[in-house]
Structures are given as structure tokens and as C-alpha cells.
């Protein structure tokens, strides 16, 4: 009887404890999250957030704009993509929606809008609102058809900007700029210097298959490939090299670390170490290398080796030597002694015992770990590349820091994600093939 009551009490106490836990743990999590909301100043974030930046990022990632720019001090009109010096249309390449006749420029915008530059006098024709006249002189003088300022015009004494669904116009005393948006990435395949730039894809195909040679000393196909490869804007050649550098960093770092830590792991494994002191020392070395963060190694190494992929590879190598040393020595401690004994009984030397008794047992585990880390290091190499200055990580940070080339940022992100997914699939495939041989994995 007493036993039953004791059991009942015990059970009830456990229920109470469980009920308490069910409320206390979510409660603690909630309190912590509230603390973080305050500590990270999340309410203040709403003011600091630049949603206009987000809008620029999104439109720029999928569209590009063409600027028609007039220098109001010296005169002269230039048509360029994204206002870049490297993407200026030559006189014979002018898009058909811009017509330039000396100081008079006619710009056709979609939805029936248009802009006329007549020297310093600019007229924006809005089909629903009427003509907007601006004169650049000492400041900008604005002349509207209505008395009040509509909300798509932003005007001050020195600057007028008009933003409509058809495009954008900004005018200051030094220059007038009209921007028209187009979908897609500009000049992705051919830059403006390329003879293929103005052609449509069917024209390009025709000229590659049977057209007259554009450059007499080589075929149109090789000219086309070289034009794409040497594209001045998107720099496909450099991007491919950068991707290669990133993978190279991961490859050299991971496999170099594996080669270095394999012999060291024997010294750290309890059943192979020549003495306890050496084993202890080796373990502390591995712990130290894992403890010193990749960030610290990266900084120290980039001081010694300068920017580039070698530095990144060495940073990965140093960090991973610690990781592999620990993993490998644990795998070695789990080997079956019987196989080694069997080999020893045939009179094998120490080297032969390791080669035929130990390595075949641990190889599948080790290779699987190495390949797994190789894949995850491809990702790390992107970040390390951004710090040491090499690979696709560098290109990405540069593109983000200019805060203008969002289409390139999008392009690099797609490439990075594709690269990581490919490496993931490749390492998974190798692990299945090399290790089990039956396609079942692990």
C-alpha cells in the first residue's frame, strides 16, 4: 500500500515537474528573444532601414537603364548604359528612341511620354499632365502647367527630378539626365565594341553558320566566343577564374590538411602513439588549431603571404588540420586490432602493418570526412576569399561595395549557389562511388 502511494507521489511530482518545464523553457526563450530585440535595437532598425535601397536593388537586379546625359556647362550629349563611362554608345550605335540633332535631342519614353532637350531648355511631355519646362541657368527654373507641384516631381532651387512609370529625369545646373528602364541584364554576352552587339540572335546564328568573315583572319565562331569571353562589362573570363580560384582554395586547403594530419593523427591516437606524453601534446596542438578561429589564421596568413588564393588555401589548411587531426585520431582509435595482428603474424614490417592492416580499415571513414569537409569548405572559401582578397568572394564584395552593380551581385550569387550545389552533388557522388561501391552511400 505504502509502495503504491509512494509511486503515486513520485509520478505526480514528475508530472508537476514536466508541466513546469513545458512553460518555463518557452518562457526563457521568449524572455531571451525580447532581450535581444532590445539589445539589437530592432525598433530603431525601422528608421535605419533604407527601403529605397531595397527597391534599387530589386529593380537593378532584373533591369538596366540607359542614361541620356547632357553636360549643361560644356554642352554635348552622351548616351550610355547605367551612366557608365565604359558603356557609351558611339554615334552610329544610337538606340532608335533617341534622336540627336546638334543641340536638339528627342527622347521617346514608353506610355506616350517624351523628353526634348533644346540646349539648356528641357521639356518633359507628360500625356496626362502636360508639358513641363525646365531651364538650366543659375540653378534650375521650373515652369509647370498647373499651379501646384504634382507628387511625381521633386523640385528645389538647384535640382529638379521627375519620376514616372515611364522613366526618370534629373536636372541640375551642371547636367540633365534622362533614364529609361529596360528589362534584363545589359550587354551580358557582347559589349559595345563587339560587332555582334547590334545583331539579333538569328542574325548572329546566320553569320556564324554562313556569313562573311567579320575579321578576315578568323572565323566568326571564334570571334564570337572570344568576344563573349573578353566581355569588358561582365568580365566572364575573370569570373570563371575567380570561381576556379575559390574551388582551388577549398581543394588545396582540404586535401593538404588531410595529407598533413594523417601521419600526425597516428601520434595522437591512443593505440598507436609512441608515448602518452606525445599523444597528449599532439591532442593539445589539434585543439589549439581548432580553437584559433579561421578568422585569426586568415588575418595572420594574409600578412605573410599577401592577397590571393594561396593565402586562402593555407588558411583553410591550418584550420582543418586541427579538425582532421581530431577526427582521424578518433577513427584510428576505433580500428580492429585483429587485422593488424593477422598481418603481423605473416612477419610484416611496421610500414606493411599500417599499409595493409590499418589504412584499409580507416580509409572509407577518412575519405568520407575529407569529401564532406571539401564541400563545406567551398562555401567557407567564398568568405575567406572576401577577407584575403581572392576568388569569387572578392568579386562579390567589390560588386556590393560599389552599390551600383546589383545585376552583377545577382549574377555572382547565382554562380556561388550553383557552385556550392554542384560541389555538394559531386562530393556526394564521390562518397557513394569510392566508399561503398554499391551506391547506397556512407
Amino acid at each position: 500500500m505504502t509502495a503504491a502511494i509512494a509511486l503515486q507521489d513520485d509520478l505526480l511530482a514528475r508530472f508537476r515537474a514536466k508541466r513546469l518545464r513545458a512553460f518555463v523553457i518557452p518562457g526563457i526563450i521568449l524572455v531571451y528573444l525580447l532581450y535581444v530585440v532590445v539589445a539589437f535595437d530592432v525598433p530603431g532598425l525601422a528608421q535605419r532601414a533604407r527601403l529605397d535601397n531595397a527597391a534599387i536593388l530589386l529593380t537593378d537586379a532584373v533591369a538596366h537603364k540607359v542614361h541620356v546625359t547632357r553636360d549643361n556647362r560644356r554642352g554635348g550629349v552622351e548616351v550610355s548604359i547605367e551612366g557608365s563611362r565604359r558603356m557609351v554608345f558611339a554615334a552610329d550605335q544610337m538606340p532608335d528612341w533617341v534622336s540627336i540633332d546638334g543641340e536638339t535631342v528627342q527622347i521617346a519614353l514608353p506610355h506616350g511620354h517624351s523628353v526634348t532637350y533644346d540646349g539648356p531648355v528641357v521639356t518633359y511631355h507628360h500625356p496626362d499632365y502636360g508639358p513641363i519646362r525646365m531651364v538650366a541657368g543659375d540653378g534650375v527654373q521650373l515652369d509647370l502647367p498647373t499651379a501646384t507641384l504634382p507628387d511625381f516631381i521633386n523640385a528645389s532651387a538647384n535640382r529638379v527630378s521627375i519620376t514616372t512609370e515611364a522613366g526618370r529625369l534629373t536636372m541640375t545646373r551642371s547636367r540633365t539626365e534622362t533614364m529609361r528602364y529596360f528589362p534584363g541584364w545589359e550587354l551580358f554576352f557582347f559589349d559595345l565594341r563587339s560587332p555582334f552587339h547590334a545583331m539579333s540572335w538569328t542574325e548572329i546564328a546566320a553569320s556564324v553558320i554562313g556569313g562573311a568573315r567579320i575579321e578576315p583572319d578568323r572565323s566568326n565562331l571564334s570571334l564570337m566566343i572570344s568576344n563573349i569571353w573578353n566581355n569588358d562589362i561582365w568580365r566572364h573570363k575573370d569570373v570563371v577564374w575567380a570561381l576556379g580560384e575559390t574551388i582551388l582554395m577549398a581543394f588545396l586547403g582540404t586535401f593538404g590538411a588531410a595529407l598533413i594530419s594523417l601521419p600526425l593523427a597516428f601520434l595522437a591516437a591512443g593505440n598507436f602513439a609512441p608515448s602518452r606524453a606525445i599523444r597528449f601534446a599532439m591532442r593539445r596542438v589539434f585543439d589549439f588549431m581548432r580553437g584559433v578561429d579561421a578568422l585569426i589564421f586568415t588575418i595572420i596568413l594574409s600578412r605573410a603571404f599577401g592577397p590571393g588564393p594561396m593565402t586562402g588555401a593555407l588558411a583553410i589548411l591550418t584550420t582543418d588540420t586541427g579538425t582532421f587531426g581530431k577526427m582521424f585520431s578518433e577513427a584510428l582509435e576505433n580500428v580492429d586490432g585483429k587485422q593488424i595482428e593477422g598481418i603481423r603474424s605473416t612477419g610484416a614490417s611496421a610500414a606493411q602493418r599500417y599499409r595493409f592492416g590499418v589504412i584499409p580499415q580507416v580509409m572509407p571513414v577518412l575519405l568520407s570526412q575529407v569529401l564532406y569537409l571539401f564541400e563545406s569548405n567551398t562555401r567557407s572559401a567564398t568568405i575567406i576569399g572576401a577577407i584575403v582578397g581572392g576568388g569569387i568572394g572578392l568579386l562579390l564584395t567589390q560588386a556590393i561595395q560599389t552599390t551600383a552593380d546589383w545585376e552583377k551581385v545577382t549574377y555572382y550569387i547565382i554562380l556561388i549557389v550553383g557552385m556550392v550545389i554542384l560541389m555538394d552533388a559531386f562530393s556526394g557522388f564521390l562518397r557513394r562511388r569510392l566508399i561503398s561501391g554499391d551506391g547506397s552511400g556512407r
Binding site: 531571451y32 535581444v36 539589437f40 580553437g291 578561429d293 578568422l295 605573410a304 599577401g306 588564393p309 550545389i421
Partner: protein, 287 residues
């Protein structure tokens, strides 16, 4: 040569096939090894070519910077504890980034894993879609998300926390769904037989079975995320990484500050590694 050699299955024939097999295996491993060596050596030379400083040249200078740092730190040894105290708020921020992102990433990863596991998913046809979602979340390096968010939200801890949380969600989604595949279905059947909803079956039937595993993975992830948040700080997301970058850019004269930050960072990582492995060991082997 005896007559028995001609018979299939005779010792000689077996030996011959065995030797042929070994030879072929050796050839294949030889080719793989050769390819590996070629890749490795040529990769090394390319990396050497494209690096600003050479390998051997740099090797002799490898200890220059640590030596300069230690020298400066030793000269101003009295300042060192002060520097270490100064970076404590930044350190707390780094740890908070890691903790929040681990927490949110683990919770989101838990849901994602349940949605993506065959046999548990409420919409089995969409399980593959959720799997792809976690693959993509895992594939995007944290730095990409962090840099883009810094542009929109301004620099600070929030972009880093979001970036790491997204990556953690993907990683946890994959790991947890592997754990979920080994769940014992009997409690689920029992719950289903009394008319439990999907949420109740998961919360009462699956989570209690897998919670220790989830928790141990979450702790492991927390270690990884501390490192990640220190690195992201270096590219402008606040915390101790940012302090380190500032101390480094001043270079000479501020190196004692950098040394202090190095020490704090090293100690933090070692302490959290030890703590988490202690807790994980207790989970695996009992108290």
C-alpha cells in the same frame, strides 16, 4: 602445369583471377592517385602564380606578424586586461548573434524537416520541394545574405543574425530530416488512432523521440555559428569581428588591442566548445 589448372574453380584459376583483379584494382588506384597528384601540384602552382606573395617567401615571414603583435602586447602588457574588458560588449553581441540565429534557425529547421521527411510530411507531394528549399538555404553562404542585408538595413547585428539563421535553417532542415527518418512509427500510429491532428502527432509522437538528437546538433551548430558571427563582423556586421578589423586597420601601435581581441576570441571559442561537448557527452552517455 597440371590438368587441374584447366578446370574452372581450380586453385590455379582462382589465383589467376584474384591476381588479375588485384592488378586491375592497383591500376585504378594508381590512376586515381596520379590524377590527384597532378591536380594538387598544378593547383598549387596556379595558386602560387596568382598570389601576391610567393609560398616559400611567405613561409619565412609567417611569424613576423604574430611576433610583432606579441612584442607590442608585451611592451604594453598593463593595457591588455583593459583592452580585453573593452571588447566585452562586442563579444556579447557576437555571442548573441550566434545564439539568436541558432535558436531561430533550429526552430525553423525543425518545422522544415518535418515538412520534408517522407512518411511524416503533411503534404507528401511537397516534401521534395521543402527538401530543395533547405538545400538552397544551405548553399547560400552567410556572407552573401549578410552583405546584401547590410546594404538595405544598415550595418549592425541584425543582418548577420538573419544571414546565419537562414543558413542554420537549411543545415538543420537536412540534419533533422535524416534524424526523423529513423523515428519509431508506433507512437505516431497510436496517436493517429485516437484522432490526433498532424501537429499533435508531431509534437507528442516525434519530437520527444528526437529531441536529444536535435539538441545535440543545435549545440554543435552554436559552436559553428559563434565562429561565423565573428567572421561576419569582420565584413561589417558588428560584434567582435568588427572591433578586430578596426584594430587591424590601425596597424602599428594598435596591435596590442588586436592581441587582446585575439585572446578573448580564442578563449570564447575554447570555452563554448568545451561546454557544448560536455553537455553533448552527457546527453549521449547519460549523466
Amino acid at each position: 602445369m597440371t590438368a587441374s589448372d584447366a578446370l574452372p574453380g581450380a586453385p590455379g584459376a582462382i589465383r589467376d583471377t584474384y591476381l588479375a583483379l588485384t592488378r586491375r584494382r592497383r591500376l585504378y588506384s594508381g590512376i586515381v592517385l596520379l590524377l590527384f597528384v597532378v591536380f594538387f601540384v598544378s593547383g598549387f602552382r596556379i595558386a602560387e602564380d596568382r598570389n601576391a606573395g610567393g609560398f616559400l617567401d611567405g613561409l619565412s615571414h609567417i611569424f613576423d606578424f604574430p611576433a610583432a603583435m606579441i612584442r607590442e602586447a608585451a611592451e604594453k602588457a598593463a593595457n591588455l586586461p583593459g583592452h580585453m574588458l573593452d571588447v566585452l560588449p562586442a563579444l556579447v553581441e557576437t555571442i548573441n548573434i550566434a545564439a539568436v540565429s541558432t535558436l531561430l534557425g533550429t526552430l525553423a529547421g525543425m518545422v522544415l524537416a518535418l515538412l520534408a521527411t517522407r512518411g511524416l510530411a503533411p503534404w507528401p507531394r511537397l516534401a521534395g520541394v521543402f527538401r530543395r528549399v533547405s538545400d538552397i538555404l544551405r548553399a547560400v553562404p552567410e556572407i552573401v545574405v549578410a552583405l546584401v542585408l547590410i546594404f538595405v538595413l544598415g550595418s549592425g547585428p541584425v543582418p548577420a543574425a538573419i544571414a546565419i539563421a537562414l543558413h542554420t535553417t537549411g543545415a538543420m532542415g537536412k540534419l533533422f530530416s535524416e534524424v526523423n527518418e529513423n523515428v519509431d512509427p508506433k507512437p505516431l500510429e497510436g496517436l493517429a488512432s485516437v484522432g490526433a491532428s498532424w501537429g499533435q502527432r508531431m509534437w507528442l509522437g516525434v519530437i520527444p523521440q528526437v529531441a536529444p538528437n536535435y539538441f545535440s546538433y543545435a549545440l554543435l551548430r552554436f559552436e559553428i555559428n559563434i565562429r561565423a558571427s565573428a567572421i561576419l563582423g569582420f565584413v561589417g556586421a558588428g560584434g567582435i569581428g568588427y572591433e578586430l578589423k578596426n584594430a587591424m586597420t590601425f596597424g602599428q601601435g594598435k596591435l596590442d588591442e588586436a592581441a587582446g581581441i585575439f585572446l578573448v576570441l580564442f578563449a570564447t571559442i575554447v570555452i563554448f566548445d568545451q561546454l557544448s561537448s560536455m553537455v553533448r557527452n552527457r546527453l549521449t552517455y547519460g549523466a
